[in-house]
């Protein structure tokens, strides 16, 4: 078991960190970007494509760069570090991942190449009002129409759903939950975009007899969707680690610069002890997320359990770190102008999108009687 990144991975991290730093190390730039309609920086998206980042998880034959979960994870850490609002998770990891898993060779070639090049930005439309992190679809139904399909129903929230060029949509069929492709220009499609509390973009999308094509061979895709959601949980965990490490760094800097009662705040043990507890939480979370990422890379069959374990740790630590970061800042932590509050909001949004602690805990508690011990070393 080895937790160290190799030289190539470290070089990739440095390159991405430099690029993202140029865009967002000044928090004002991030604020300006999330205030636009699109909610992210299309030029930065093109740069990421040029560096090969958007094609990282895809096979070279499909236009990707053929890297693995470790590389994808470290990109997510760097995105989290500067609270980058780019749609990497929904476009590359979820929509792209599903196309790679379930799409035909033609679909992969046709869609993953422009996705990797930055010219096609897809989104995964899956969550439905009233559902909580389900793998199946019930609210959107697909029905046959000649050679094609038509979709009806509502998806919400769909990350980056209003601006996406292509939607990968889960929908109930007589054979279970199927996956479909819907063009952004299709008829019967109503997309209402809005900003989520962390500044990222989401949408309510209603389908009314909207024409769709089936992805790949069709049939029940529930297991494929579940695996994709678990994979996204691990990548989101990496992103959360980046956010938490930044929140801790910013908070520590604040404690050594802000003065009250004539001294800097780090003279007050009630505050430094809380920061120490944040450090403990972040270190434990990094270990767990690194492990889950390695499971994804080497033993993908074990991803459901690893994703739940990482998800629980990330959710617990995310709350603790986000709340403490604001509290240790005091009033300034409440302002939109200062970066720390957005860290807490981002950690919350990641939980909301990928599963809160109780959801993961229920999953784990259900199987607790089936093993004596958890042994990560096998």
């Amino acid at each position: 078991m080895d937790f160290t990144y190799d030289d190539e991975q470290n070089a990739l991290r440095e390159a991405v960190r430099a690029l993202l730093g140029k865009a967002y190390s000044d928090y004002e730039n991030r604020r300006r970007t999330v205030a636009t309609d699109l909610g992210y920086d299309p030029q930065l998206w093109s740069r990421l494509a040029e560096m090969g980042i958007l094609g990282l998880p895809f096979a070279e034959a499909d236009g990707g760069t053929g890297a693995g979960p470790i590389e994808v994870g470290l990109i997510a850490q760097e995105l989290g570090r500067v609270l980058a609002p780019e749609p990497f998770l929904t476009a590359v990891v979820l929509a792209g991942g599903l196309i790679a898993d379930a799409g035909s060779a033609e679909e992969r070639a046709e869609l993953l190449d422009p996705l990797s090049a930055g010219s096609l930005v897809p989104a995964f439309a899956h969550a439905e009002p009233g559902t909580r992190w389900a793998s199946s679809a019930t609210g959107v139904r697909a029905s046959r129409d000649g050679d094609g399909w038509r979709l009806s129903g509502v998806k919400e929230p769909v990350p980056h759903g209003a601006s996406a060029d292509l939607l990968v949509v889960s929908a109930a069929t007589d054979a279970g939950t199927g996956l479909f492709l819907v063009d952004a220009a299709a008829g019967g499609l109503q997309r209402d975009g809005f900003a989520a509390p962390d500044g990222s973009r989401a949408a309510r999308i209603s389908f009314d007899g909207t024409p769709a094509t089936v992805l790949g061979e069709g049939g029940d895709a529930t297991a494929v969707i579940a695996a994709a959601l678990d994979r996204a949980r691990v990548v989101a965990g990496n992103q959360a680690v980046g956010v938490m490490e930044s929140a801790l760094r910013i908070t520590s800097e604040y404690l050594t610069s802000r003065k009250q009662f004539g001294v800097t705040l780090n003279h007050f043990q009630a505050l430094t002890f809380r920061a120490a507890d944040m450090y403990v939480a972040v270190e434990l979370t990094r270990s767990m997320v690194d492990w889950a990422t390695m499971v994804l890379a080497e033993q993908p069959d074990g991803i459901a359990e690893a994703a739940a374990r990482a998800g629980l740790q990330v959710a617990r630590a995310g709350r603790m770190v986000g709340q403490s970061a604001i509290q240790l800042h005091g009033g300034i932590g409440m302002t939109a102008e200062y970066a720390i509050g957005a860290h807490a909001a981002t950690l919350t949004a990641l939980e909301q999108a990928h599963g809160m602690a109780d959801h993961h805990l229920a999953r784990l508690a259900g199987t607790v009687g089936e093993h004596a011990e958890v042994d990560p070393l096998g």
Binding site: L248, F273, S287, M288, R309
Partner: protein, 385 residues
């Protein structure tokens, strides 16, 4: 990044697993599994078996029995030992005084003490804390005054764990009363049979006798029992305490008790209770995060110096050890009241032992640098606060 153990490490682990489960007497391992107190003889027997096979002091310098293992191998050794319910080598000997003597002692002192320390021919006690010197250890007041070829020691040590078994005690003593508080301290080895040395038991909240006071009245100690240089004892103590933090997180033992507690919960029909199952699941996850951190931190320790994040292991390791003992006591419920009922009780052994263990383990967040001291170390040395 690699998930699986290398073939060499996997084989190493298998060898350890076989050794610990076949070479250490079952009756000793059963005592540990039942969370009962070990006798002195059980400690000694185990350590001599380990030492005979090179498993007692693998982290010492090679010429004194060390094995030059990687940090990961050392971690595996520690985990497999706990998994097999094998009592670890006596920490006072192998983690505390042994490494100090090996690093700072004269050749003569090394030859005199290290082989006997590794083999538990000498049972060491720790003479650090005093009634007025706990977390603020450097305010200690026990004095050693030079008189010809001897130091004359006067004062009192306390919290001396298992001092009733002790043959020798390693002490921090004040040898220069004029110097700034850390500067006048020396590291002295004292034969506990010397006249003027008295061990008095302290009864603890769990009803047991685990710690003691050690009183020194004009105890004469030969000057050759000084380790290293006069008035340099604080440096050696810091070295010792840094090592102490590393091995102090008993992840494997906590996992083992949690696994056993599932069986206890099953016996009484509680494992299917969703609230109980959720507590198990949460603790398993917390222990997994800690174990992974232990492996990650072990791999990053450079030059044998503990990684600063080892404070995380002590802090979190003891919290979880306590939380597991709390779960066991909660499962026992009212049966925990029968702790001292003896064999007349219908309550199962695990339930009867659960309250004393819970009370006893309150110590874990206090010793080895209290968890508040660990937070201070994290805040200062890692976060720069």
């Amino acid at each position: 990044m690699r998930l699986e153990l290398s073939p060499a490490d996997a084989q190493f682990r298998e060898e350890l697993r076989t050794f610990f489960t076949t070479q250490v007497p079952q009756e000793i391992r059963d005592t540990v599994a039942a969370r009962r107190e070990l006798t002195k003889e059980q400690f000694v027997t185990t350590q001599r078996i380990l030492n005979a096979h090179g498993y007692a002091v693998p982290h010492w310098p090679v010429e004194w029995g060390g094995r030059n293992w990687t940090e990961l191998q050392r971690h595996l050794w520690h985990e497999e030992m706990q998994r097999a319910n094998v009592p670890a080598p006596l920490a006072f000997n192998t983690s505390m005084v042994g490494p100090v003597i090996a690093a700072f002692g004269s050749q003569e002192i090394k030859e005199r003490f290290l082989p006997a320390t590794a083999n538990l021919d000498i049972w060491w006690s720790q003479g650090f804390s005093e009634p007025d010197a706990g977390s603020d250890l450097a305010s200690l007041r026990t004095t050693a005054v030079r008189d010809g070829d001897h130091f004359v020691v006067n004062g009192q040590k306390t919290w001396t764990t298992l001092g009733q078994h002790g043959d020798w005690i390693f002490c921090l003593v004040r040898t220069d009363p004029e110097a700034r508080k850390q500067a006048g301290i020396s590291f002295l080895l004292i034969d506990m049979t010397t006249p003027g040395l008295e061990v008095r038991p302290i009864e603890l909240i769990d009803g047991g006798h685990e710690v003691n006071e050690v009183w020194f009245t004009d105890v004469r100690v030969p000057v050759e029992n000084l380790v290293g240089e006069l008035n340099k004892g604080w440096d050696y103590a810091k070295f010792l305490l840094g090592n102490e933090r590393v091995g102090v997180a008993p992840v494997g033992a906590s996992k083992r008790v949690l696994g056993a507690a599932k069986e206890w919960a099953r016996e009484i029909g509680e494992l299917d209770d969703p609230l109980v199952a959720a507590r198990f699941a949460e603790l398993e996850n917390d222990l997994l995060a800690l174990e992974l951190t232990a492996v990650r931190v072990a791999a990053n320790s450079a030059d044998g110096k503990p990684h600063p994040a080892s404070s995380v292991l002590k802090l979190r390791g003891t919290e979880l050890q306590q939380a597991v003992s709390e779960l066991a006591m909660d499962l026992a419920g009212p049966a925990g009241l029968s702790s001292f009922a003896g064999d007349v009780s219908d309550a199962p052994d695990w339930a009867r032992v659960s309250t004393p263990v819970y009370l006893n383990l309150r110590k874990a967040s206090i010793y080895g640098g209290s968890n508040e001291i660990q937070r201070q170390i994290i805040a200062r040395t890692i976060l720069g606060l």
